[in-house]
Amino acid sequence: MRYLPLTDTDRSDMLATIGADSIDDLFTDVPEEARLDGPIHGLPMHASEMAVEKHMRRLSKKNLAAADAAFFLGAGAYKHHVPASVDHIIQRGEFLTAYTPYQPEIAQGTLQMLFEFQTQVARLYGCAVANASMYDGSTACWEAVAMAGRVTKRKRAVLSGALHPHYAEVVKTMAKFTGDTIADAKPSIQPEPDTTGLRDRIDEDTSCVVVQYPDILGRVNDLTEIAEAAHAKGALLVVVNTEPVALGAIKSPGEMGADIVVGEGQSIGVGLNFGGPYLGLFAVRNPKHVRQMPGRLCGETTDAEGKRGFVLTLSTREQHIRREKATSNICTNSGLCALAFNVHMTLLGEKGLRQLAAENHRLACLAADKLAQVPGVTVLNSAFFNEFTIVLETDARALVRKLAAKNVLAGVSLGRLFPDVDALSQGLLVAVTETTSEEDIDTLCSALKEELA
């Protein structure tokens, strides 16, 4: 077997050194009735690299790759161009096959990368400190709610109706077990989010208000008033961002008073991957909140010769030290995805990120204008970044399936995201990025024209 270096001679020599007659002598602690006497039935035997590749390729061909269609899906996962050098760097064995940097003297590569990553995320979010990553945006969202509970010592979180429904579900799932109360709402399909309704739901017991920016319908709105309303009641504002590219064009959540900013980092460097692995981002505006943060933090220090170096720090918050008193049970996070983000963001830089954001917005505006011309299509949003909602005169979910058969992946229907809300069934979320061509937009428009005629 190509991954196993021991030869049969090695095996018998080693057994002799150990003083065992056979390999079975090393498994004597396993009760005899539980020991399997041979390979498990019903599973195939080993296979060559060529055979396995063929099998997997056959499975991969049963999927329609985004690049092979006119593609407009978003809703928390976006198709962006990832420069070739990003994938090259994350495949260097020194990054790919390293462990969590517990021995900092021989992990400065990973640690320095994490320090750069934390700096990039903090600046992008308008925050003071970011951690070294979480699993994904949705789990980071729950961790933010949990952290707000620790900071305020309150147990009632208010969710905006325009928060990604899967994020809201993750929060509600976890809250069932921790005893937190989650006040959620259904989204209203209006050109602008219902901030008055949200403000009215904040009370003296509220630990945090959770809003998404841009929200699940693609709308962007000023969060300053919500921040003030939350702070007036002693609550924190948690802002969720699922499209980091947007923050190259619109104000950061930190600038508008967010206390905890979390999000999905997949757009920068990571790729679609059918939903994972992704990259949870987590940052706080007030450095005093650092000790309540979940997850790993990389910090600067010096070595015995006075040279600058980096280590994992403040680990007294973490499970391997604090056990049942830890701020989170998270251990492995998304290190390699953080590297991909870090490399891609370094390639972009301030200038590139702003250009990328501008190009996304330009094409999204173009798509919105063209779609508005299609009979039976109304563009809902008054403001948006690269994703907006259109309202059809028919069930959007069924329409999306029909268009998929024509190689047009038209977007994410609100019916798929909110199956229980009939009022949203005609809504379709359309995302446009720098990878969308004007030809793709025309293809979508004519396919819609045909179906809606």
């Binding site: 270096p5 539980a34 003297e105 320090f115 993750v170 619109i250 010096t302 007294t316 290190g335 403001a383």
Partner: protein, 531 residues
């Protein structure tokens, strides 16, 4: 030409021979031949530099950003592509990795990461697919999830599997939430979860997050759970017992079946931490030992890369009693052979057929379907090894660990060596060290020998613990070299060799001051010219 580096960062100069070691003259650059210093990207980049060609922004273009344009500088810097590649390549060389040598980190299973897995994960049909595409366009992806699920069920002898957990600790949480949901469904509000003292820190942290109080289970003199003490503690308040098997001392819990039977009799559930599954894959099925839930770290046993701290993947296999409570979404194959994606709206219609009753999921744990990129890699690995190869994996992993145990037990305190063979990892303590040397000093000495140290100070039940897990992907020659180094450093430790206290000498950095890092945390770069 690039704008000049404005930060004023200078590489640290070489140390003189303060430790009485000959390290040659200082260099102007601070480099030592191939040992290259590298500043932060923020110190060499610039806001006006970019390594990506994008259209220039038209300042006159109208926008629909609702008046929220970001006008202040973000504070990011860019590098051109050649500078970027060089920056990260230079950083990479400051990392130890499996590709460079044996990585004996106990309980972490640092085995070779096959490159076919990487190639497969990058096939456009897997890598370039959106999680919310219409299901008819992702049947192959659903088949991968379902096929992997089947392997996991067959290898563990369990009834069902939850695929969405993102890593081991997330999987633990999933398993504990299933247990709590099952108990609540029968109106049984139990409060306590028992964990052995040797448990991974994630176990008590997870139990606490799932709303339980945790209590320690005492260990016997043989490093295993004390069955009689456990039985005495079981009662109507115990929701579950969390056990790692093989345990973190590298030993198989011989009484596992009796433990499970006793827990079940007392109305509780058995959670097994599957971090150490590599020792028994293909040899023993946890389902035959009475386990109710066990997470499997695909990034350990099934070779997906650790990536410097993730991403991982932690599917959870479940017993028949717990399967109905698993998280959404999940996949299911119907009689016509089609694999479906079950989310909330279709869960009820499928549960009748698959569970003979109403599926009562505890909810959603993550936005999408789990770590697809890890699923493709793990499945590729399983298909490569096959049922026969996986069995050989466990045998070779255990053989390699025992070889290390028996090659060092004359020099180092091996607390359980007399009780029989170990499983996939060998445990040593610091009892025979001379002077005031600690396990940390030995670990840093191993760095100078060119190895990543073993897991140190864990498990907590052995003083100065050193947990060595070689894995099956090491040759005998590699093991012999490692043993020679380990013996040499152990001899120095036993002799009280004070020079170990200053180790490492040859790494990119000497010992780093962790106290300073925690006392005055610097967690992001600040431009010294602005502060």
């Amino acid at each position: 030409m690039n704008p000049p580096n404005k930060s004023g960062w200078k590489p640290a100069m070489n140390a003189t021979d303060q430790d009485g070691m000959h390290i040659g003259p200082a260099t102007v650059s601070g480099n030592r031949a191939l040992m290259l210093e590298e500043p932060l990207s923020f110190e060499i980049g610039h806001a006006e530099i970019t390594g990506v060609d994008l259209p220039e922004i038209d300042p006159a273009a109208a926008n629909r950003l609702g008046g929220l344009e970001r006008s202040d500088p973000i504070g990011l810097v860019g590098l051109s592509e050649p500078e970027t590649v060089r920056h990260y390549t230079r950083l990479s060389r400051q990392n130890y990795a499996i590709d460079l040598g044996l990585f004996p980190l106990g309980s972490c299973t640092m085995k070779h990461n096959p490159r076919l897995n990487e190639k497969v994960a990058r096939m456009p049909g897997f890598a370039d697919v959106h999680p919310l595409q219409p299901v008819d366009t992702v049947r192959g992806a659903l088949e991968v999830i379902n096929e992997l699920a089947h392997w996991l069920i067959d290898l563990t002898g369990m009834h069902g599997v939850a695929m969405s957990p993102k890593a081991g600790a997330h999987g633990e949480l999933c398993g504990m939430l299933c247990i709590r949901a099952a108990l609540e469904a029968r109106g049984d509000a139990r409060k306590v979860v028992l964990c052995p003292e040797s448990a991974h820190g994630t176990n008590p942290a997870t139990a606490a997050f799932a709303g339980y109080e945790t209590e320690d289970i005492p260990a016997g003199a043989d490093g295993r759970v004390d069955l009689e003490a456990l039985k005495a503690r079981l009662g109507p308040d115990v929701a579950a017992v969390m056990i790692t098997n093989p345990n973190t001392c590298g030993l198989f819990e011989r009484d596992m079946k009796a433990i499970s039977d006793a827990v079940h009799e007392a109305g509780g559930f058995v959670y097994c931490d599957g971090a150490n599954f590599n020792a028994i894959v293909g040899k023993v099925r946890p389902g035959d030992l009475g386990v109710d839930a066990m997470h499997i770290n695909l990034h350990k046993t099934f070779s997906t890369p650790h990536g410097g701290g993730g991403p991982g993947s932690g599917p959870v296999v479940l017993s028949e009693a717990l399967s109905p409570y698993g998280p959404l979404p999940y996949t299911a194959r119907t009689k016509d052979g089609v694999v479906h994606l079950i989310e909330e709206e279709s869960a009820e219609s499928f549960s009748e057929e698959h569970f003979g009753g109403v599926m009562d999921s505890f909810g959603r744990m993550t936005a999408f379907h789990g770590q697809m990129g890890m699923f493709t890699r793990a499945l590729t690995y399983m298909l490569s090894h096959g049922a026969d190869g996986l069995r050989q994996v466990a045998e070779d992993a255990v053989l390699n660990a025992n070889y290390i145990l028996r090659s060092l037990e004359d020099l180092l305190h091996a607390p359980y060596a007399d009780s029989g063979p170990c499983m996939h990892e060998a445990l040593f303590g610091d009892k025979d060290f001379g002077g005031d040397l600690s396990t940390l000093d030995l670990a840093k000495g191993m760095i100078d020998e060119g190895y990543h140290p073993m897991t140190v100070f864990f498990p907590l039940v052995v003083h100065g613990a050193m947990l060595v897990e070689p894995t099956e992907t090491e040759s005998k020659a590699a093991l012999d070299q490692f043993i020679a180094s380990f013996r040499s450093v152990a001899e120095r430790a036993n002799a009280g060799d004070e020079s170990l206290k200053q180790a490492p000498y040859y790494a990119p950095r000497r010992r780093l001051d962790e106290t300073q890092a925690a006392r005055k945390p610097v967690l992001a770069w600040n431009d010294p010219n602005l502060t």
